[in-house]
Amino acid sequence: MTQPQPSATAIFYRNLRWLKFVDRFGRKGSQTLEYLGGLSELLGQAVVGCFTRPMYPTEILNQMDEIGVKSVSITGITALFTGMVLALQTAYSLEAFGGKMFIGRVVSLSLVRELGPVLTALMVGGRVGSGITAELGSMTVTEQVDALRAMAISPVRRLVVPRLIATVLMMPVLTAIADLLGILGGMGIAILELQMTAQDYLTSIWQQLQISDIGSGLAKTFFFGLEIAAIGCYNGLQVQGGAASVGRATTRTVVFASICILVSDFFLTKLFLAL
């Protein structure tokens, strides 16, 4: 006995779920591509703006203060306590093998090559990226960005370029300070908790740490700075609507900047290891 053939309507409804899924997937994909395209375009314009007139040196200095100097405390505290925790965990893990003497090496290498740059970037991404988005987003919804355009002044040159330059320049400085504070935090624990001498701790670092370790760590931060500033500015300039949109854009910046930092860190690490 043959089964009755399902009607065209039944087939349509059976497949509707999949059609909706494909449709939603396509829309998301198209939105993502549109976002990445817009972000790349803005980044391209900003990079060109970095090397052509008009420049805004005073604004760049203001942003270096806002983005860099005012981030020292948050990145410094993060690195200090990370160094302390690293020292404690390393001592706990290696004690059975008599590995206390390696604490300085482990702490410094971990911090300088990886944790210093990444944690600093995540902290700056949270503080500065969201701040940039909120500021530019508010300017966009209150028509201040349109006012710039109406006055024949490029918002990219006036708003984006100074923030991009300041973030890119200040990231390595913040990371260097964070590395130093993290190593000092580890030394504090090594001396106070693990009864090591400062000389032993520093000697183990001196013997192990290479210039290339410091260089690769700091080099990454240029890219992180570029990502944070570009994402922060782009999301701010794309805000439409009111205060709620500014809030959503700010959250998006923190999430997207964090993901970009972590993903690009992997590829940059691969690249620098291969060099």
Partner: protein, 276 residues
């Protein structure tokens, strides 16, 4: 109409009046599947004050933003100073934008700058004038809008009406040929609205500019307009003198006047004599 403040410097050389300075030719603009502008055509003459009237959400501000290229049409042409500005890059639009100023609905003053820095901003950006000269320009423009001596105040310290007047001072800092006003009296009390309206007329005469005023406020239109253009359903349903509109334009315009509390054709509401 009395001048709000007197300027000490001589009047600028007269600009030729009457020629077409802005022309919309069959302009279409679509947002979210809706035709906001559906084949708009309009000519604005040099030296006039044109009021674009219409209910909220009919595309008045969108029309205005086409004049300085902040918004680009989907189809049609917009000619400013005789040149098409459609499809031009931001950089290519710069020369036109320096000659066209815009007063935004909320003033759009830069929060991080004080009044002096706000007004000086376009001057510093587009010229190499020494600081003393820039300061003199700021003082002069503030006097023109009736707010002398408030250079050091921050925008957050100003009332709504003052913010708009400071924004107006910033708009005229580069001595533009066209000033675009986006809802200049919205959110203001009647006295402040009247002051702004008087300023529009005053500056139009003194600076010999062309003014395009977007408003849904008939009292403002009555005070400032040489001509009104009534925008509805994506097209100008009426373009003509205010008196003509007040005497009874098309039914939709009569409905609008009635809804705003000013019935057409009753003789109860006519254009205010300008310059009084």
């Amino acid at each position: 109409m009395s001048h709000v403040a007197s300027a000490s410097e001589p009047s600028p050389a007269p600009r030729p009046r009457g020629e077409t300075i802005v022309a919309f030719e069959n302009v279409w603009k679509r947002y979210a599947g809706k035709d906001v502008l559906a084949g708009v055509s309009l000519k604005i003459e040099r030296g006039e004050v044109l009021c674009i009237l219409g209910p909220s959400g009919t595309g008045k501000s969108v029309t205005l933003r086409h004049i300085n290229g902040l918004t680009q049409p989907d189809d049609g042409d917009v000619r400013v100073f005789g040149e098409s500005i459609v499809g031009l890059s931001e950089e290519a639009l710069s020369p036109t934008r320096r000659r066209v100023a815009m007063l935004f609905q909320g003033g759009a003053l830069f929060d991080s700058m004080n009044v002096e820095q706000n007004i000086a901003f376009p001057v510093v950006e587009h010229s190499e004038r020494p600081p003393e000269e820039v300061a003199a320009i700021v003082a002069e423009k503030l006097t023109m809008v009736g707010l002398p001596g408030i250079q050091r105040k921050m925008p957050s310290e100003l009332s709504g009406g003052m913010r708009k007047r400071v924004a107006l001072a910033r708009s005229i800092a580069l001595e533009p040929e066209i000033i675009l006003y986006d809802e200049p009296t919205t959110g203001l009390d009647p006295i402040s609205s009247e002051k702004i309206a008087q300023l529009i007329v005053d500056l139009n005469v003194r600076l010999q500019t062309t003014s395009v005023v977007v408003t849904h406020d008939i009292v403002t239109a009555r005070t400032v307009a040489d001509r009104v253009a009534f925008l509805h359903q994506g097209r100008f349903q009426f373009v003509g003198a205010f008196d003509e509109a007040a005497r009874g334009g098309p039914p939709i315009l009569q409905d609008y006047f009635r809804a705003m509390g000013f019935p057409c054709g009753t003789g109860a509401f006519q254009a205010a004599p300008k310059g009084e």
